[in-house]
Protein backbone atom coordinates (compact mmCIF):
# COMPACT_ATOMS: atom_id res chain seq x y z
CA UNK A 1 0.00 0.00 0.00
CA UNK A 2 1.67 3.21 -1.13
CA UNK A 3 1.81 6.40 0.87
CA UNK A 4 -0.80 8.00 -1.33
CA UNK A 5 -3.35 5.24 -0.89
CA UNK A 6 -6.07 6.13 1.57
CA UNK A 7 -8.63 3.41 0.89
CA UNK A 8 -7.72 -0.03 -0.33
CA UNK A 9 -10.42 -2.48 -1.33
CA UNK A 10 -8.97 -5.92 -1.91
CA UNK A 11 -10.70 -8.96 -3.38
CA UNK A 12 -14.05 -7.82 -2.01
CA UNK A 13 -16.99 -10.13 -2.60
CA UNK A 14 -20.07 -8.30 -1.45
CA UNK A 15 -23.76 -8.95 -1.36
CA UNK A 16 -26.73 -9.66 0.83
CA UNK A 17 -26.86 -13.08 2.45
CA UNK A 18 -25.28 -15.67 0.20
CA UNK A 19 -26.10 -13.84 -3.01
CA UNK A 20 -23.04 -11.96 -4.28
CA UNK A 21 -23.63 -8.71 -6.17
CA UNK A 22 -19.92 -7.97 -6.57
CA UNK A 23 -17.19 -10.55 -6.88
CA UNK A 24 -13.49 -10.12 -6.13
CA UNK A 25 -13.39 -6.36 -6.57
CA UNK A 26 -10.05 -4.60 -5.92
CA UNK A 27 -9.20 -0.92 -6.26
CA UNK A 28 -7.55 1.94 -4.42
CA UNK A 29 -8.53 5.51 -3.62
CA UNK A 30 -5.69 8.01 -3.27
CA UNK A 31 -5.32 10.80 -0.76
CA UNK A 32 -7.04 14.11 -1.63
CA UNK A 33 -8.55 12.89 -4.90
CA UNK A 34 -12.15 12.92 -6.11
CA UNK A 35 -12.96 9.34 -6.96
CA UNK A 36 -16.23 8.21 -8.54
CA UNK A 37 -17.94 4.84 -8.59
CA UNK A 38 -20.21 4.53 -11.63
CA UNK A 39 -22.54 2.06 -13.14
CA UNK A 40 -26.12 1.51 -14.14
CA UNK A 41 -28.96 0.88 -11.69
CA UNK A 42 -28.62 -2.31 -9.66
CA UNK A 43 -24.92 -2.87 -10.34
CA UNK A 44 -23.99 -2.65 -6.66
CA UNK A 45 -22.70 0.94 -6.36
CA UNK A 46 -24.51 1.71 -3.14
CA UNK A 47 -23.75 -1.77 -1.80
CA UNK A 48 -20.06 -1.14 -2.41
CA UNK A 49 -20.32 2.17 -0.57
CA UNK A 50 -21.97 0.46 2.41
CA UNK A 51 -19.13 -2.06 2.49
CA UNK A 52 -16.52 0.70 2.27
CA UNK A 53 -18.01 2.38 5.33
CA UNK A 54 -18.35 -0.86 7.26
CA UNK A 55 -22.14 -0.85 7.41
CA UNK A 56 -22.42 -4.33 5.91
CA UNK A 57 -19.83 -7.10 6.43
CA UNK A 58 -18.37 -8.54 3.22
CA UNK A 59 -18.75 -12.17 2.14
CA UNK A 60 -14.98 -12.16 1.69
CA UNK A 61 -12.14 -9.70 1.12
CA UNK A 62 -10.99 -6.61 3.00
CA UNK A 63 -11.52 -2.87 3.05
CA UNK A 64 -8.67 -0.89 4.57
CA UNK A 65 -9.14 2.82 5.28
CA UNK A 66 -6.17 4.84 6.63
CA UNK A 67 -4.50 1.56 7.49
CA UNK A 68 -7.47 0.26 9.52
CA UNK A 69 -9.32 -2.84 8.38
CA UNK A 70 -12.87 -1.55 8.57
CA UNK A 71 -14.51 -4.92 9.05
CA UNK A 72 -12.02 -6.53 11.41
CA UNK A 73 -11.37 -3.57 13.71
CA UNK A 74 -12.64 -3.53 17.27
CA UNK A 75 -15.49 -1.28 18.40
CA UNK A 76 -13.23 1.60 19.53
CA UNK A 77 -11.15 1.88 16.39
CA UNK A 78 -14.27 1.54 14.25
CA UNK A 79 -15.81 4.46 16.12
CA UNK A 80 -12.63 6.47 15.59
CA UNK A 81 -12.82 5.58 11.91
CA UNK A 82 -16.43 6.79 11.76
CA UNK A 83 -15.37 10.15 13.18
CA UNK A 84 -12.91 10.52 10.32
CA UNK A 85 -15.47 9.97 7.60
CA UNK A 86 -18.62 11.78 6.60
CA UNK A 87 -21.43 10.29 4.55
CA UNK A 88 -24.04 12.13 2.54
CA UNK A 89 -27.02 9.86 2.08
CA UNK A 90 -29.26 9.86 -0.95
CA UNK A 91 -32.11 11.63 0.78
CA UNK A 92 -29.90 13.67 3.11
CA UNK A 93 -30.38 11.46 6.15
CA UNK A 94 -31.33 14.45 8.29
CA UNK A 95 -33.05 13.75 11.58
CA UNK A 96 -36.59 14.91 10.99
CA UNK A 97 -37.33 16.09 14.51
CA UNK A 98 -34.34 18.47 14.59
CA UNK A 99 -33.82 21.80 12.85
CA UNK A 100 -31.02 22.13 10.29
CA UNK A 101 -28.82 23.91 12.83
CA UNK A 102 -29.40 21.15 15.40
CA UNK A 103 -28.64 18.48 12.79
CA UNK A 104 -25.29 20.07 11.93
CA UNK A 105 -24.48 20.79 15.57
CA UNK A 106 -25.16 17.19 16.62
CA UNK A 107 -21.74 15.63 15.82
CA UNK A 108 -19.85 18.75 16.91
CA UNK A 109 -21.60 18.73 20.28
CA UNK A 110 -20.98 15.03 20.71
CA UNK A 111 -17.31 14.90 19.74
CA UNK A 112 -15.75 18.26 20.69
CA UNK A 113 -15.61 20.11 24.01
CA UNK A 114 -16.59 23.43 22.39
CA UNK A 115 -19.07 25.77 24.05
CA UNK A 116 -22.55 26.29 22.67
CA UNK A 117 -21.75 29.77 21.38
CA UNK A 118 -18.73 28.45 19.50
CA UNK A 119 -20.74 25.57 18.08
CA UNK A 120 -23.38 28.03 16.87
CA UNK A 121 -20.66 29.98 15.11
CA UNK A 122 -19.33 26.84 13.40
CA UNK A 123 -22.83 25.77 12.40
CA UNK A 124 -23.43 29.19 10.92
CA UNK A 125 -20.21 28.93 8.89
CA UNK A 126 -21.07 25.46 7.66
CA UNK A 127 -24.62 26.31 6.66
CA UNK A 128 -23.29 29.42 4.93
CA UNK A 129 -20.88 27.21 2.98
CA UNK A 130 -23.79 25.20 1.58
CA UNK A 131 -25.85 28.34 0.96
CA UNK A 132 -28.43 27.65 3.63
CA UNK A 133 -27.99 30.78 5.68
CA UNK A 134 -31.35 31.85 7.06
CA UNK A 135 -32.70 28.29 7.17
CA UNK A 136 -31.07 27.39 10.49
CA UNK A 137 -34.36 26.95 12.30
CA UNK A 138 -36.23 25.09 9.57
CA UNK A 139 -37.13 21.45 9.97
CA UNK A 140 -36.07 19.03 7.22
CA UNK A 141 -39.72 18.61 6.21
CA UNK A 142 -39.96 22.33 5.50
CA UNK A 143 -37.22 22.48 2.84
CA UNK A 144 -36.78 21.15 -0.69
CA UNK A 145 -34.89 18.03 -1.76
CA UNK A 146 -31.85 19.96 -2.98
CA UNK A 147 -31.70 21.88 0.28
CA UNK A 148 -31.91 18.63 2.24
CA UNK A 149 -28.89 17.32 0.35
CA UNK A 150 -26.94 20.50 1.02
CA UNK A 151 -27.88 20.39 4.70
CA UNK A 152 -26.86 16.72 4.74
CA UNK A 153 -23.53 17.76 3.26
CA UNK A 154 -23.08 20.41 5.93
CA UNK A 155 -23.69 17.74 8.57
CA UNK A 156 -21.35 15.26 6.88
CA UNK A 157 -18.67 17.98 6.93
CA UNK A 158 -19.39 18.95 10.53
CA UNK A 159 -16.14 17.48 11.87
CA UNK A 160 -14.16 18.12 8.65
CA UNK A 161 -13.51 14.42 8.10
CA UNK A 162 -10.62 13.08 6.00
CA UNK A 163 -12.98 11.28 3.65
CA UNK A 164 -16.44 12.21 2.44
CA UNK A 165 -18.64 9.54 0.88
CA UNK A 166 -21.50 10.65 -1.35
CA UNK A 167 -24.38 8.41 -2.33
CA UNK A 168 -25.87 9.95 -5.47
CA UNK A 169 -25.31 13.58 -4.40
CA UNK A 170 -27.02 15.10 -7.43
CA UNK A 171 -29.64 12.50 -8.33
CA UNK A 172 -33.10 13.99 -8.74
CA UNK A 173 -31.94 17.60 -8.62
CA UNK A 174 -32.30 20.30 -11.23
CA UNK A 175 -29.19 21.00 -13.34
CA UNK A 176 -28.40 24.26 -11.60
CA UNK A 177 -28.63 22.81 -8.10
CA UNK A 178 -26.56 19.82 -9.29
CA UNK A 179 -23.90 22.14 -10.65
CA UNK A 180 -23.87 24.03 -7.35
CA UNK A 181 -23.37 20.85 -5.37
CA UNK A 182 -20.57 19.81 -7.75
CA UNK A 183 -18.91 23.20 -7.26
CA UNK A 184 -19.20 22.79 -3.53
CA UNK A 185 -17.58 19.36 -3.65
CA UNK A 186 -14.67 20.73 -5.71
CA UNK A 187 -14.29 23.73 -3.40
CA UNK A 188 -14.14 21.59 -0.27
CA UNK A 189 -11.76 19.14 -1.90
CA UNK A 190 -9.41 21.90 -2.98
CA UNK A 191 -9.39 23.99 0.16
CA UNK A 192 -9.49 21.32 2.86
CA UNK A 193 -7.91 18.45 0.93
CA UNK A 194 -10.80 16.14 1.76
CA UNK A 195 -10.80 12.87 -0.17
CA UNK A 196 -14.13 12.36 -1.92
CA UNK A 197 -15.70 9.07 -2.91
CA UNK A 198 -18.79 9.64 -5.01
CA UNK A 199 -21.33 7.07 -6.12
CA UNK A 200 -23.24 8.41 -9.07
CA UNK A 201 -24.57 7.86 -12.55
CA UNK A 202 -24.91 11.52 -13.48
CA UNK A 203 -22.56 11.94 -16.43
CA UNK A 204 -22.22 15.70 -16.15
CA UNK A 205 -21.17 15.43 -12.52
CA UNK A 206 -18.70 12.68 -13.34
CA UNK A 207 -16.96 14.73 -16.01
CA UNK A 208 -16.99 17.85 -13.88
CA UNK A 209 -15.72 16.23 -10.70
CA UNK A 210 -13.82 13.01 -10.99
CA UNK A 211 -10.22 12.57 -12.02
CA UNK A 212 -10.47 8.81 -11.63
CA UNK A 213 -13.46 6.51 -11.80
CA UNK A 214 -14.28 2.84 -11.65
CA UNK A 215 -17.26 1.50 -13.50
CA UNK A 216 -19.21 -1.47 -12.18
CA UNK A 217 -21.32 -3.84 -14.21
CA UNK A 218 -24.25 -6.00 -13.18
CA UNK A 219 -23.44 -8.93 -15.46
CA UNK A 220 -19.69 -9.02 -14.74
CA UNK A 221 -20.37 -8.44 -11.00
CA UNK A 222 -17.27 -6.30 -10.86
CA UNK A 223 -15.21 -3.51 -12.38
CA UNK A 224 -15.26 -3.19 -16.16
CA UNK A 225 -13.28 0.03 -16.42
CA UNK A 226 -10.94 2.17 -14.34
CA UNK A 227 -9.33 5.49 -15.18
CA UNK A 228 -10.02 9.05 -16.24
CA UNK A 229 -13.63 9.50 -17.38
CA UNK A 230 -12.73 11.62 -20.42
CA UNK A 231 -10.22 9.02 -21.54
CA UNK A 232 -12.66 6.16 -21.00
CA UNK A 233 -15.37 7.95 -22.96
CA UNK A 234 -13.17 8.30 -26.04
CA UNK A 235 -10.76 5.42 -25.88
CA UNK A 236 -12.21 2.55 -23.86
CA UNK A 237 -11.97 -0.81 -25.62
CA UNK A 238 -15.23 -1.91 -24.00
CA UNK A 239 -18.32 -0.81 -25.98
CA UNK A 240 -20.49 -0.96 -22.82
CA UNK A 241 -18.23 1.63 -21.20
CA UNK A 242 -18.26 3.91 -24.24
CA UNK A 243 -22.03 3.58 -24.50
CA UNK A 244 -22.45 4.55 -20.86
CA UNK A 245 -20.34 7.67 -21.25
CA UNK A 246 -21.96 8.62 -24.54
CA UNK A 247 -25.50 7.93 -23.30
CA UNK A 248 -26.30 5.33 -25.94
CA UNK A 249 -28.87 2.76 -24.90
CA UNK A 250 -27.83 -0.85 -25.29
CA UNK A 251 -31.02 -1.71 -27.19
CA UNK A 252 -30.29 1.10 -29.65
CA UNK A 253 -26.80 -0.26 -30.04
CA UNK A 254 -28.10 -3.76 -30.68
CA UNK A 255 -30.45 -2.66 -33.46
CA UNK A 256 -27.72 -0.47 -34.87
CA UNK A 257 -25.31 -3.37 -34.98
CA UNK A 258 -27.82 -5.81 -36.44
CA UNK A 259 -28.60 -3.40 -39.25
CA UNK A 260 -25.02 -2.76 -40.19
Amino acid sequence: MSEHTLIKVYNLTAGYGEQAILEKVSFEVYREEIFAILGGSGCGKSTLLKHMTGLIPPISGTVTVCGVDVHQSDQDSYRRFLRNIGILYQSGGLISSMTLAENVALPIKEYTPLKEEEINYLVEMKLEQVDLKGFEHHLPSEISGGMKKRAGLARAMALNPDILFFDEPTAGLDPITSAEIDELIIKINRSLGTTMVIVTHELQSIFRLAKRVIMLDKMVKGIIAEGNPHYLRDHSGNPAVRNFFNRISTSHNATHESRS
Partner: protein
Protein backbone atom coordinates in the same frame (compact mmCIF):
# COMPACT_ATOMS: atom_id res chain seq x y z
CA UNK B 1 9.19 36.02 26.27
CA UNK B 2 7.54 33.13 24.46
CA UNK B 3 5.22 30.78 26.33
CA UNK B 4 3.77 27.61 24.97
CA UNK B 5 -0.02 27.47 25.40
CA UNK B 6 -0.79 24.19 23.60
CA UNK B 7 1.03 21.92 21.16
CA UNK B 8 -0.06 24.10 18.27
CA UNK B 9 -0.02 27.54 19.85
CA UNK B 10 2.43 29.69 21.74
CA UNK B 11 2.18 33.29 22.87
CA UNK B 12 4.76 36.05 22.89
CA UNK B 13 4.28 38.97 25.28
CA UNK B 14 5.88 41.96 23.62
CA UNK B 15 6.77 44.81 25.98
CA UNK B 16 4.17 47.58 25.71
CA UNK B 17 1.16 45.30 26.17
CA UNK B 18 1.18 43.59 22.79
CA UNK B 19 0.51 39.89 22.34
CA UNK B 20 1.53 37.69 19.45
CA UNK B 21 0.01 34.24 18.99
CA UNK B 22 2.18 31.87 16.97
CA UNK B 23 0.29 28.93 15.50
CA UNK B 24 1.88 25.82 14.12
CA UNK B 25 0.81 22.41 12.84
CA UNK B 26 -2.81 21.51 12.31
CA UNK B 27 -5.60 23.83 13.43
CA UNK B 28 -8.46 21.34 13.36
CA UNK B 29 -11.23 20.00 15.58
CA UNK B 30 -8.74 18.17 17.77
CA UNK B 31 -6.41 21.08 18.55
CA UNK B 32 -8.77 24.05 18.43
CA UNK B 33 -10.84 23.61 21.65
CA UNK B 34 -7.67 23.66 23.78
CA UNK B 35 -6.27 26.64 21.85
CA UNK B 36 -9.44 28.67 22.36
CA UNK B 37 -9.52 27.95 26.06
CA UNK B 38 -5.83 28.78 26.64
CA UNK B 39 -5.80 31.85 24.41
CA UNK B 40 -8.91 33.39 25.96
CA UNK B 41 -7.59 32.71 29.44
CA UNK B 42 -4.29 34.45 28.74
CA UNK B 43 -6.07 37.41 27.15
CA UNK B 44 -8.50 37.84 30.05
CA UNK B 45 -5.66 37.61 32.57
CA UNK B 46 -3.68 40.31 30.89
CA UNK B 47 -5.67 42.43 28.38
CA UNK B 48 -3.40 43.45 25.48
CA UNK B 49 -3.45 46.63 23.44
CA UNK B 50 -2.54 44.92 20.19
CA UNK B 51 -2.98 41.29 19.15
CA UNK B 52 -1.23 39.58 16.25
CA UNK B 53 -1.82 36.03 15.06
CA UNK B 54 1.04 34.46 13.15
CA UNK B 55 -0.07 31.58 10.92
CA UNK B 56 3.25 30.98 9.15
CA UNK B 57 3.77 27.60 10.80
CA UNK B 58 0.27 26.25 10.13
CA UNK B 59 0.11 23.17 7.94
CA UNK B 60 -3.66 22.67 7.96
CA UNK B 61 -6.48 25.10 8.62
CA UNK B 62 -10.22 24.57 8.48
CA UNK B 63 -13.32 26.21 9.90
CA UNK B 64 -12.41 25.06 13.41
CA UNK B 65 -9.16 27.03 13.00
CA UNK B 66 -11.13 30.00 11.69
CA UNK B 67 -13.28 29.73 14.80
CA UNK B 68 -10.16 29.98 17.00
CA UNK B 69 -9.03 33.14 15.16
CA UNK B 70 -12.53 34.57 15.43
CA UNK B 71 -12.66 34.00 19.18
CA UNK B 72 -9.28 35.71 19.61
CA UNK B 73 -10.42 38.62 17.46
CA UNK B 74 -13.60 38.95 19.54
CA UNK B 75 -11.62 38.92 22.78
CA UNK B 76 -9.27 41.56 21.34
CA UNK B 77 -12.25 43.74 20.41
CA UNK B 78 -13.63 43.39 23.92
CA UNK B 79 -10.44 44.83 25.39
CA UNK B 80 -10.32 47.56 22.70
CA UNK B 81 -7.19 46.02 21.16
CA UNK B 82 -6.40 45.92 17.48
CA UNK B 83 -6.12 42.58 15.70
CA UNK B 84 -3.92 41.57 12.78
CA UNK B 85 -3.01 38.39 10.93
CA UNK B 86 0.52 37.56 9.87
CA UNK B 87 2.34 34.94 7.86
CA UNK B 88 -0.63 34.06 5.66
CA UNK B 89 0.20 31.58 2.92
CA UNK B 90 -1.89 31.28 -0.24
CA UNK B 91 -3.71 28.27 1.19
CA UNK B 92 -4.57 30.02 4.45
CA UNK B 93 -5.82 33.06 2.52
CA UNK B 94 -8.01 30.81 0.41
CA UNK B 95 -9.52 29.17 3.46
CA UNK B 96 -10.10 32.46 5.27
CA UNK B 97 -11.84 33.73 2.15
CA UNK B 98 -13.87 30.53 1.89
CA UNK B 99 -15.17 30.99 5.41
CA UNK B 100 -15.48 34.76 4.92
CA UNK B 101 -13.29 35.63 7.88
CA UNK B 102 -12.90 39.28 6.89
CA UNK B 103 -16.61 39.82 6.41
CA UNK B 104 -17.31 38.71 9.94
CA UNK B 105 -15.82 41.76 11.59
CA UNK B 106 -18.86 42.19 13.75
CA UNK B 107 -20.79 39.02 14.06
CA UNK B 108 -24.41 39.35 14.94
CA UNK B 109 -25.34 37.19 17.87
CA UNK B 110 -26.84 33.93 16.67
CA UNK B 111 -30.54 34.43 16.50
CA UNK B 112 -32.26 31.92 18.68
CA UNK B 113 -35.85 31.04 18.24
CA UNK B 114 -37.48 33.04 20.99
CA UNK B 115 -40.10 31.34 23.10
CA UNK B 116 -43.49 32.88 22.36
CA UNK B 117 -45.33 34.72 25.15
CA UNK B 118 -48.45 33.45 26.89
CA UNK B 119 -50.87 35.42 24.71
CA UNK B 120 -49.17 34.25 21.52
CA UNK B 121 -49.31 30.70 22.82
CA UNK B 122 -53.03 30.91 23.63
CA UNK B 123 -53.73 32.52 20.28
CA UNK B 124 -51.86 29.87 18.37
CA UNK B 125 -53.52 27.05 20.28
CA UNK B 126 -56.94 28.58 19.56
CA UNK B 127 -56.19 28.88 15.87
CA UNK B 128 -54.89 25.29 15.82
CA UNK B 129 -58.09 24.09 17.48
CA UNK B 130 -60.26 26.02 15.02
CA UNK B 131 -58.32 24.63 12.09
CA UNK B 132 -58.63 21.13 13.57
CA UNK B 133 -62.38 21.67 13.92
CA UNK B 134 -62.65 22.83 10.31
CA UNK B 135 -60.72 19.78 9.17
CA UNK B 136 -62.98 17.53 11.23
CA UNK B 137 -66.13 19.06 9.79
CA UNK B 138 -64.79 18.67 6.27
CA UNK B 139 -63.87 15.09 7.06
CA UNK B 140 -67.37 14.36 8.43
CA UNK B 141 -68.80 15.78 5.22
CA UNK B 142 -66.64 13.68 2.97
CA UNK B 143 -67.35 10.51 4.97
CA UNK B 144 -71.11 11.17 4.88
CA UNK B 145 -71.03 11.76 1.14
CA UNK B 146 -69.02 8.60 0.75
CA UNK B 147 -71.58 6.65 2.83
CA UNK B 148 -74.42 7.96 0.67
CA UNK B 149 -72.56 6.90 -2.43
CA UNK B 150 -71.93 3.45 -0.97
CA UNK B 151 -75.61 3.01 -0.11
CA UNK B 152 -76.53 3.74 -3.69
CA UNK B 153 -73.63 1.73 -5.13
CA UNK B 154 -72.66 -0.94 -2.61
CA UNK B 155 -70.44 -2.64 -5.17
CA UNK B 156 -68.09 0.31 -5.26
CA UNK B 157 -66.87 -0.52 -1.75
CA UNK B 158 -63.46 -2.22 -1.73
CA UNK B 159 -64.71 -5.45 -0.15
CA UNK B 160 -61.30 -7.13 -0.11
CA UNK B 161 -59.82 -4.32 1.95
CA UNK B 162 -62.88 -4.35 4.17
CA UNK B 163 -62.52 -8.08 4.87
CA UNK B 164 -58.82 -7.66 5.53
CA UNK B 165 -59.56 -4.82 7.96
CA UNK B 166 -62.25 -6.95 9.64
CA UNK B 167 -59.73 -9.71 10.17
CA UNK B 168 -57.09 -7.37 11.57
CA UNK B 169 -59.50 -5.42 13.77
CA UNK B 170 -61.71 -8.31 14.81
CA UNK B 171 -60.35 -11.84 14.55
CA UNK B 172 -56.79 -10.88 15.45
CA UNK B 173 -57.97 -8.96 18.51
CA UNK B 174 -60.15 -11.81 19.82
CA UNK B 175 -57.52 -13.54 22.01
CA UNK B 176 -56.58 -10.38 23.88
CA UNK B 177 -60.21 -9.25 24.23
CA UNK B 178 -61.18 -12.69 25.53
CA UNK B 179 -58.33 -12.84 28.01
CA UNK B 180 -58.94 -9.34 29.36
CA UNK B 181 -62.71 -9.99 29.53
CA UNK B 182 -62.16 -13.22 31.45
CA UNK B 183 -59.76 -11.61 33.93
CA UNK B 184 -62.08 -8.66 34.38
CA UNK B 185 -65.00 -10.98 35.19
CA UNK B 186 -62.79 -12.87 37.58
CA UNK B 187 -61.68 -9.73 39.39
CA UNK B 188 -65.18 -8.24 39.60
CA UNK B 189 -66.65 -11.44 40.97
CA UNK B 190 -63.86 -11.84 43.44
CA UNK B 191 -63.98 -8.26 44.72
CA UNK B 192 -67.78 -8.10 44.97
CA UNK B 193 -67.98 -11.52 46.67
CA UNK B 194 -65.93 -10.19 49.58
CA UNK B 195 -68.77 -7.75 50.36
CA UNK B 196 -71.77 -9.79 49.24
CA UNK B 197 -70.68 -12.86 51.22
CA UNK B 198 -71.30 -10.95 54.46
CA UNK B 199 -75.00 -10.70 53.56
CA UNK B 200 -75.23 -14.20 52.15
CA UNK B 201 -75.97 -12.62 48.79
CA UNK B 202 -73.42 -14.62 46.82
CA UNK B 203 -75.80 -15.18 43.93
CA UNK B 204 -75.87 -11.46 43.18
CA UNK B 205 -72.23 -11.70 42.08
CA UNK B 206 -73.65 -13.05 38.82
CA UNK B 207 -75.96 -10.03 38.43
CA UNK B 208 -73.20 -7.59 39.13
CA UNK B 209 -70.78 -9.09 36.62
CA UNK B 210 -73.40 -9.48 33.91
CA UNK B 211 -75.01 -6.06 34.24
CA UNK B 212 -71.72 -4.17 34.59
CA UNK B 213 -70.23 -5.90 31.59
CA UNK B 214 -73.20 -5.79 29.24
CA UNK B 215 -74.14 -2.18 29.94
CA UNK B 216 -70.81 -0.47 30.59
CA UNK B 217 -67.54 -2.29 30.81
CA UNK B 218 -67.88 -4.65 27.84
CA UNK B 219 -68.21 -1.90 25.24
CA UNK B 220 -65.65 0.34 26.94
CA UNK B 221 -62.94 -2.26 27.47
CA UNK B 222 -63.35 -3.55 23.93
CA UNK B 223 -63.25 -0.03 22.55
CA UNK B 224 -60.08 0.80 24.46
CA UNK B 225 -58.34 -2.35 23.25
CA UNK B 226 -59.41 -1.70 19.66
CA UNK B 227 -58.32 1.95 19.92
CA UNK B 228 -54.88 0.81 21.04
CA UNK B 229 -54.56 -1.93 18.46
CA UNK B 230 -56.42 -0.78 15.38
CA UNK B 231 -56.99 2.95 15.84
CA UNK B 232 -53.23 3.39 16.04
CA UNK B 233 -52.72 1.10 13.04
CA UNK B 234 -55.23 3.10 10.94
CA UNK B 235 -53.51 6.36 11.85
CA UNK B 236 -49.98 5.15 11.19
CA UNK B 237 -50.93 3.49 7.90
CA UNK B 238 -52.64 6.58 6.52
CA UNK B 239 -50.01 8.96 7.95
CA UNK B 240 -47.20 6.96 6.34
CA UNK B 241 -49.09 7.01 3.04
CA UNK B 242 -49.69 10.72 3.43
CA UNK B 243 -46.06 11.68 3.98
CA UNK B 244 -44.81 9.49 1.13
CA UNK B 245 -47.26 11.14 -1.29
CA UNK B 246 -49.28 7.94 -1.74
CA UNK B 247 -52.50 9.72 -0.78
CA UNK B 248 -51.81 12.42 -3.37
CA UNK B 249 -51.07 9.70 -5.91
CA UNK B 250 -54.44 8.04 -5.26
CA UNK B 251 -56.18 11.39 -5.50
CA UNK B 252 -54.54 12.31 -8.78
CA UNK B 253 -55.38 8.89 -10.23
CA UNK B 254 -58.97 9.98 -9.78
CA UNK B 255 -59.83 7.80 -6.79
CA UNK B 256 -62.10 8.97 -4.02
CA UNK B 257 -59.55 8.77 -1.20
CA UNK B 258 -62.25 8.52 1.47
CA UNK B 259 -63.90 5.58 -0.26
CA UNK B 260 -60.55 3.96 -0.94
CA UNK B 261 -58.94 4.28 2.48
CA UNK B 262 -61.52 5.33 5.06
CA UNK B 263 -64.74 3.49 4.18
CA UNK B 264 -63.28 -0.06 4.46
CA UNK B 265 -61.87 0.73 7.89
CA UNK B 266 -65.03 2.36 9.25
CA UNK B 267 -67.28 -0.39 7.95
CA UNK B 268 -64.97 -3.12 9.22
CA UNK B 269 -64.82 -1.54 12.68
CA UNK B 270 -68.60 -1.01 12.77
CA UNK B 271 -69.19 -4.67 12.00
CA UNK B 272 -66.62 -6.35 14.21
CA UNK B 273 -66.31 -4.23 17.34
CA UNK B 274 -69.87 -5.05 18.60
CA UNK B 275 -69.10 -8.73 18.05
CA UNK B 276 -65.87 -8.35 19.99
CA UNK B 277 -67.76 -6.74 22.83
CA UNK B 278 -70.19 -9.71 22.93
CA UNK B 279 -67.16 -11.94 23.28
CA UNK B 280 -65.77 -9.72 26.03
CA UNK B 281 -69.11 -10.06 27.89
CA UNK B 282 -69.22 -13.82 27.45
CA UNK B 283 -65.71 -14.33 28.72
CA UNK B 284 -66.28 -11.99 31.66
CA UNK B 285 -69.35 -14.00 32.61
CA UNK B 286 -67.20 -17.12 32.31
CA UNK B 287 -64.66 -15.50 34.65
CA UNK B 288 -67.40 -14.67 37.15
CA UNK B 289 -68.75 -18.20 36.85
CA UNK B 290 -65.33 -19.63 37.64
CA UNK B 291 -65.14 -17.64 40.87
CA UNK B 292 -68.79 -18.41 41.68
CA UNK B 293 -68.42 -22.16 41.28
CA UNK B 294 -64.96 -22.56 42.80
CA UNK B 295 -65.16 -20.11 45.70
CA UNK B 296 -68.78 -19.24 46.42
CA UNK B 297 -70.34 -22.70 46.22
CA UNK B 298 -72.77 -21.67 43.50
CA UNK B 299 -73.90 -24.13 40.85
CA UNK B 300 -73.25 -23.29 37.24
CA UNK B 301 -76.98 -23.51 36.46
CA UNK B 302 -77.97 -21.10 39.24
CA UNK B 303 -75.23 -18.67 38.23
CA UNK B 304 -76.27 -18.61 34.57
CA UNK B 305 -79.93 -18.35 35.48
CA UNK B 306 -79.22 -15.30 37.66
CA UNK B 307 -77.00 -13.86 34.93
CA UNK B 308 -79.75 -13.89 32.30
CA UNK B 309 -82.35 -12.60 34.75
CA UNK B 310 -80.24 -9.55 35.61
CA UNK B 311 -80.23 -7.64 32.34
CA UNK B 312 -82.92 -6.87 29.81
CA UNK B 313 -82.87 -7.09 26.04
CA UNK B 314 -82.69 -3.30 26.02
CA UNK B 315 -79.47 -3.39 28.05
CA UNK B 316 -77.98 -5.84 25.61
CA UNK B 317 -78.93 -3.87 22.50
CA UNK B 318 -77.92 -0.60 24.05
CA UNK B 319 -74.50 -2.07 24.87
CA UNK B 320 -74.15 -3.18 21.26
CA UNK B 321 -75.20 0.25 20.01
CA UNK B 322 -72.60 1.90 22.21
CA UNK B 323 -69.99 -0.54 20.95
CA UNK B 324 -70.81 0.31 17.35
CA UNK B 325 -70.70 3.99 18.17
CA UNK B 326 -67.28 3.64 19.79
CA UNK B 327 -66.10 1.70 16.73
CA UNK B 328 -67.10 4.65 14.60
CA UNK B 329 -65.20 7.03 16.90
CA UNK B 330 -62.05 4.89 16.77
CA UNK B 331 -61.99 4.40 13.00
CA UNK B 332 -62.88 8.04 12.55
CA UNK B 333 -60.13 9.38 14.78
CA UNK B 334 -57.57 6.94 13.38
CA UNK B 335 -58.24 8.00 9.79
CA UNK B 336 -58.60 11.70 10.60
CA UNK B 337 -55.31 11.92 12.50
CA UNK B 338 -53.61 9.98 9.73
CA UNK B 339 -54.79 12.49 7.14
CA UNK B 340 -53.67 15.38 9.32
CA UNK B 341 -50.05 14.12 9.36
CA UNK B 342 -47.54 16.46 7.76
CA UNK B 343 -43.77 16.30 7.67
CA UNK B 344 -41.37 13.45 8.20
CA UNK B 345 -41.14 10.19 10.13
CA UNK B 346 -41.97 11.99 13.34
CA UNK B 347 -45.42 12.89 11.99
CA UNK B 348 -46.41 9.21 11.86
CA UNK B 349 -45.67 8.80 15.55
CA UNK B 350 -47.57 11.98 16.39
CA UNK B 351 -50.59 10.88 14.36
CA UNK B 352 -50.65 7.50 16.09
CA UNK B 353 -50.41 8.93 19.59
CA UNK B 354 -52.97 11.57 18.85
CA UNK B 355 -55.39 9.00 17.37
CA UNK B 356 -55.25 6.77 20.44
CA UNK B 357 -55.49 9.62 22.93
CA UNK B 358 -58.38 11.32 21.11
CA UNK B 359 -60.26 8.03 20.67
CA UNK B 360 -59.99 7.05 24.32
CA UNK B 361 -60.99 10.52 25.45
CA UNK B 362 -64.01 10.56 23.14
CA UNK B 363 -65.01 7.03 24.17
CA UNK B 364 -65.11 7.99 27.84
CA UNK B 365 -66.80 11.31 27.08
CA UNK B 366 -69.55 9.70 25.00
CA UNK B 367 -70.02 6.93 27.50
CA UNK B 368 -70.72 9.55 30.18
CA UNK B 369 -73.16 11.31 27.84
CA UNK B 370 -74.95 8.00 27.19
CA UNK B 371 -75.07 7.29 30.92
CA UNK B 372 -76.84 10.62 31.53
CA UNK B 373 -79.25 10.07 28.64
CA UNK B 374 -80.17 6.60 29.86
CA UNK B 375 -80.68 7.94 33.39
CA UNK B 376 -83.44 10.28 32.22
CA UNK B 377 -84.80 8.05 29.51
CA UNK B 378 -84.94 4.76 31.37
Amino acid sequence: MIRKLTDCCSIEDIPGGDKKFRFSGRLDRKSVPAIIEAALKSMHANPPSKVTADLSGVSYLDDFGVLALERIREAAAESQASFALEGLGAKAKEILALFRFDERKKREAAKRRRKPGLMVGVGRATIDQLLDLRFQVAFVGSVLLCCLHLMLHPRSLRWEDTLESMKKTGADALPIVALIGFLLGLIMAFMSSVQLKQFGANIYVASLVALAMVRELGPIITAIIVAGRSGSAFASEIAAMKISDEVDALYTMGFDVTRFLVAPKIIAALLVVPILSIFANLFAILGGLTVGVLMLDLTAGAYMDQTFKSFTAFDFWFGLFKSAFFALVIAWMGCLRGFQARGGAEAVGKATTSAVVSSIFLIILWDSIFAVIIQYWG
